[in-house]
């Protein structure tokens, strides 16, 4: 796997605000990198710098061997970029717009027609080809932006929230499109939707306050969830009371929480350090001959990991905001 995008100490300051703080990482061919972070974390700013729209304050990005600060036009030629909000020229028809993009990307004649047709095919834009873009629905606009970014079959795709504003069917379509293209490209997408990361990304990074906080496969990140490998047991209250002390003393168990809803008691057995306790717990349940309604293993949620990682950081503005809120409640 060769590195196609390398960020090297990428930093961007707007006045005194450090939007992106010394981010270094690389993305190789075949990878789909999910870029996660709260609003204002610096995701879009990072992508804008890689795409050559913003000039880094320090550091650089190298795309397909070209340095974006030294040779921006070569980098832009190698990248397909969907900016946040998918801006397009509203007064043009879809066809005229894609024709413009094809020409500025250096295609002519039959090749140009083929490229446009292919992009239209991939994101299914046939029905609106002759409509002006400003009359289209949000979903179609987003797809026009997507068509524009993949038209020249770029080696590197940078998509800032590609599925924002799409309905579930369209989301699914875009995700499978990304997965199809993934094998011979390096793709970076930013998203708020964590299920999307599990669905399409081979790797995810989490940034908050401009800093890179986590980097790994979606499974790696899941393993950092508090409830990763926790065992959930649903049973009657009496049985729960009998079982809980034994569970607590079981090897590898960190704690047992009890909760109740609609007459059913749930025991949540949390493992120490995310270890696997499923077999031990189910053996114990069988040995004690307890009647359970349900017993299953929780894999944890990215939501949980995301919240923990992004809220742990000792950061100025966000931490202040939380404090302020707490004070107001008190």
């Amino acid at each position: 796997m060769t590195d196609m995008v390398t960020l090297d100490g990428l930093t961007k300051a707007f006045g005194s605000l450090l939007a992106v703080d010394d981010i270094s990482m690389s993305v190789g061919r075949g990878e789909v990198l999910g870029f996660l972070g709260p609003n204002g974390a610096g995701k879009s700013t990072t992508m804008k710098m890689v795409a050559g729209y913003l000039t880094p304050t320090a550091g650089t990005a190298v795309v397909c061997g070209q340095d974006v600060t030294r040779n921006p036009v070569a980098v832009k030629a190698a990248i397909g970029y969907l900016p946040e909000g998918a801006p397009t020229y509203g007064d043009m028809t879809v066809e005229a717009f894609l024709d413009f993009v094809a020409r500025i990307r250096g295609f002519d004649g039959a090749e140009k027609a083929r490229r446009v047709a292919e992009a239209v095919e991939k994101v299914t834009l046939h029905e609106v080809l002759h409509q002006s873009i400003e009359t289209l629905s949000k979903g179609f606009k987003r797809r026009v932006g997507l068509a524009q970014s993949i038209l020249h079959d770029p080696e590197v795709l940078i998509l800032d929230e590609p599925t924002d504003g799409l309905d579930p069917n369209q989301k699914q379509h875009v995700r499978s499109l990304i997965s199809e293209m993934a094998k011979d490209k390096a793709i970076i997408i930013s998203t708020h939707i964590l299920e999307e990361v599990e669905a399409v990304c081979t790797r995810a990074v989490i940034i908050a306050h401009g800093k890179l906080l986590a980097d790994g496969t979606p499974d790696d990140l899941l393993a950092r969830s508090l409830s990763h490998n926790a065992v959930l047991i649903k049973l009657d209250k009496a049985a729960a009371d009998a079982l809980a002390p034994d569970l607590r003393s079981l090897n590898g168990v960190d704690s047992v929480e009890t909760s109740e809803s609609s007459g059913v008691t749930q025991l949540t057995v949390l493992p120490k350090d995310g270890g696997s306790i499923a077999v031990a717990v189910s053996d114990l349940v069988r040995a004690k001959n307890v009647d359970t309604h349900e017993l299953f293993v929780d894999k944890g949620t990215l939501d949980d990991v995301f919240r923990r990682i992004t809220q742990e950081t000792p950061a100025g503005p966000a931490a202040d905001a939380t404090d302020g809120e707490g004070a107001a409640h008190a």
Binding site: Y53, T55, V73, E84, P87, R105, G106
Partner: protein
């Protein structure tokens, strides 16, 4: 060259895809016409020339050219398409030139559509067509200078109204710098050479000499260097905004 051409055609098409182009052309023709006949005293002067026609161009341009130029960059900034445009594999200079040339060509089209005026004087009398041709060229150059100012200022803001007002004001200063209104301000204290320099910056001075039928190299260089200067500033403004 190719990139400039592609940007040029898109921008030119953009003028005609909205009512802007048609509104502009109609108003431009109506104003040039009425100014020639009423203010310029076309019939009263009873001379077969277009002095009355061209004499009002600087004042018309003052109002109309910033209206064409204001959208060039401010609109891209407002709608966010500037991010799309500037991540295409083109240089800032190519984008600036393509846009400017499209706006200039559009002005040229509007100016060209005043040809019935030229025909009219030829029907009514025997004008010096050389002078008229020179005046057309001078007018087009002056429009280019106004446009380059407008384009640069449009890149400074995302608000088209601000772009319009500021560009009009700057153009006004450039136009007026040949008149006593501005020159008297300098005469009181500045040496004659500075007064001369300020006067030499005036659109009116240079345009008037061209519209007398003499295309002096100095006047051509004046307008050309003004255009180059403002477009260069335009490139710098766009690049500076990238550095944020």
């Amino acid at each position: 060259m190719r990139n400039i051409r592609v940007i040029f055609w898109r921008e030119l098409a953009a003028y005609f895809s909205t009512p802007l182009a048609y509104v502009f052309i109609v108003i431009f023709l109506a104003l040039t016409g009425s100014m020639t006949f009423y203010l310029g005293g076309f019939f009263i002067r009873a001379q077969a020339d277009l002095q009355g026609f061209f004499g009002y161009h600087p004042w018309l341009y003052l109002l109309l050219i910033p209206a064409i130029a204001m959208r060039l960059w401010a609109e891209e900034r407002k709608t966010g398409t500037i991010e799309f445009l500037m991540t295409l594999p083109i240089s800032t200079t190519q984008a600036v030139l393509g846009k400017f040339l499209a706006a200039w060509t559009f002005t040229g089209i509007a100016l060209g559509l005043t040809f019935p005026m030229w025909i009219t004087v030829n029907v009514l009398g025997d004008p010096d067509n050389g002078v008229i041709a020179a005046s057309y060229i001078g007018s087009l150059f002056m429009a280019g200078a106004f446009l380059s100012i407008g384009s640069c200022i449009s890149a400074l803001t995302k608000n088209q109204v601000i772009a319009f007002i500021v560009a009009s004001t700057v153009c006004f200063l450039f136009t007026m710098s040949g008149l006593d209104l501005v020159l008297d301000f300098f005469r009181g204290w500045a040496p004659e050479s500075i007064v001369e320099a300020v006067a030499s910056l005036s659109f009116l001075t240079h345009f008037n000499s061209i519209s007398k039928g003499v295309i002096d190299l100095r006047d051509a260089i004046y307008f050309a260097s003004l255009i180059v200067f403002w477009l260069y500033a335009n490139v710098i403004v766009v690049d500076l905004k990238k550095a944020g």
